[in-house]
């Protein structure tokens, strides 16, 4: 049900997520921030059952913070992605969680990177990724219009176009999408689209 659209641009990563909380067919709140920060230069966008999401991401956030405090080292995006994947693949056979994550981070050495992690523990590094039912609607659009190393304006334009397509074609009217970017200065929210 959640819509997550994420792109990797030139020295930044950008992600848009809807801001709706719902319970069965009722909308309970329309202005929540579903992004989860991990360290200063990474954030997660998660979709799935709210209970599983909060349980798992709290655990992840605090584990990685503990690692940073203990060792004084900051983990790269790739390490965090593999750590998340390992936890999820162990959960698969013990207490299955139905959550799909997109991790976006910026490292000074590698630049921006985007990782898609499935509830079955599949990890893929990608240039762009759409999560949820809207992936069926938007993936082909992004295949056509995505360019490598876009600048910020182009990326926001693409997300605006995605939002218009969703308003036209997606059955469930989504609230406005909240955009967040990560670059070498850190994470910040850009606004609603």
């Amino acid at each position: 049900m959640d819509t997550i659209i994420s792109l990797s641009g030139k020295d930044f990563g950008i992600c848009a997520i809807d801001t709706m909380a719902f319970k069965s067919f009722l909308i309970t709140k329309t202005n929540i921030n579903k992004f989860i920060e991990i360290g200063k230069n990474k954030f997660l966008a998660v979709s799935g059952y709210p209970g599983d999401v909060i349980q798992f991401t709290d655990f992840l956030q605090k584990t990685i913070q503990l690692y940073t405090l203990k060792t004084g080292l900051t983990l790269s995006t790739r390490s965090v992605a593999n750590c998340i994947r390992k936890e999820l693949s162990e959960c698969l056979r013990k207490n299955p969680l139905n959550i799909n994550l997109i991790l976006i981070g910026f490292d000074k050495i590698y630049g921006s990177s985007l990782y898609f992690i499935d509830y079955l523990g599949s990890l893929q590094r990608m240039n762009f990724c759409v999560q949820g039912h809207s992936s069926l609607i938007l993936s082909s659009f992004l295949d056509q219009y995505f360019r490598q190393k876009m600048n910020l304006q182009e990326a926001v334009q693409i997300i605006k176009k995605c939002s218009e397509i969703l308003k036209k074609r997606y059955l469930i009217p989504q609230t406005r999408l909240l955009i967040r970017i990560v670059d070498e200065e850190g994470c910040r929210c850009l606004g609603l689209v």
Partner: protein, 201 residues
């Protein structure tokens, strides 16, 4: 097993082998990525290909990396294909009730450059072969195709042409695999890798 998709062919030649896989990563019928080879290098003369649930593939790959590193640190030599195959079978059977949903093929050259090709099922049962091996969503049709085109004692160039044509033919009729292919040609002189164009659908 067909959730993430993929197909792999291994063909043996004269003291050399070629291993090829497709590049699709999908979630059932939805193609998510097209840059995911399913072949992993253990060392210059030993390659493993895995098809199945991608999370389990990554888990097994990390376990194997750990075990082969410990082996080469202890013994100061690279692991041989036969020993590696036994280790992998042990690892897979360890999870007899709750298995990793992964089928594997191994291809390697031992220290005398003799060919070693073997395929395993999800519990680690070994099936060695002397000519070729295929696993994946179109493995049945690939067996037929390879049977027609494979010849004994091919050199690397002929191997490359044969394995690429077989892979392309097999992927053309299958929607769960495809989106490009990668071929590694391995002999005692080293490894050459090439990406081949296929139908992108």
């Amino acid at each position: 097993m067909d959730y993430n998709g993929g197909s792999i062919i291994i063909m043996g030649g004269k003291n050399c082998f070629a291993i090829a896989s497709d590049l699709r990563f999908g979630l059932d019928n939805f193609t998510k990525g097209h840059a995911t080879p399913k072949i992993f290098k253990i060392h210059e003369k030993l390659f493993i290909g895995m098809i199945g649930l991608f999370g389990d593939i990554s888990t097994i790959r990390q376990m194997l990396e750990y075990k082969t590193s410990i082996y080469s640190l202890k013994k100061s030599e690279k692991i041989q294909p036969f020993g590696f195959s036994s280790m992998l079978s042990n690892l897979l059977y360890h999870h007899r009730f709750g298995p990793f949903l992964v089928e594997t093929v191994l291809a390697g050259l031992d220290e005398k450059d003799n060919l070693f090709i073997e395929s395993k099922d999800i519990l680690g049962a070994k099936s060695p072969s002397s000519d070729f091996a295929t696993i994946g969503s179109c493995s049945e049709s690939l067996y037929g195709i390879c049977q027609v085109f494979w010849k004994p004692e091919m050199n690397l160039e002929e191997l490359f042409k044969t394995i690429s044509s077989c892979l392309v033919l097999g992927l053309n009729r299958n929607c769960i695999s495809g989106w490009g292919g990668i071929v590694h040609m391995v002999s005692k002189d080293g490894v050459v890798s090439k990406i081949i164009q296929t139908r992108m659908d």
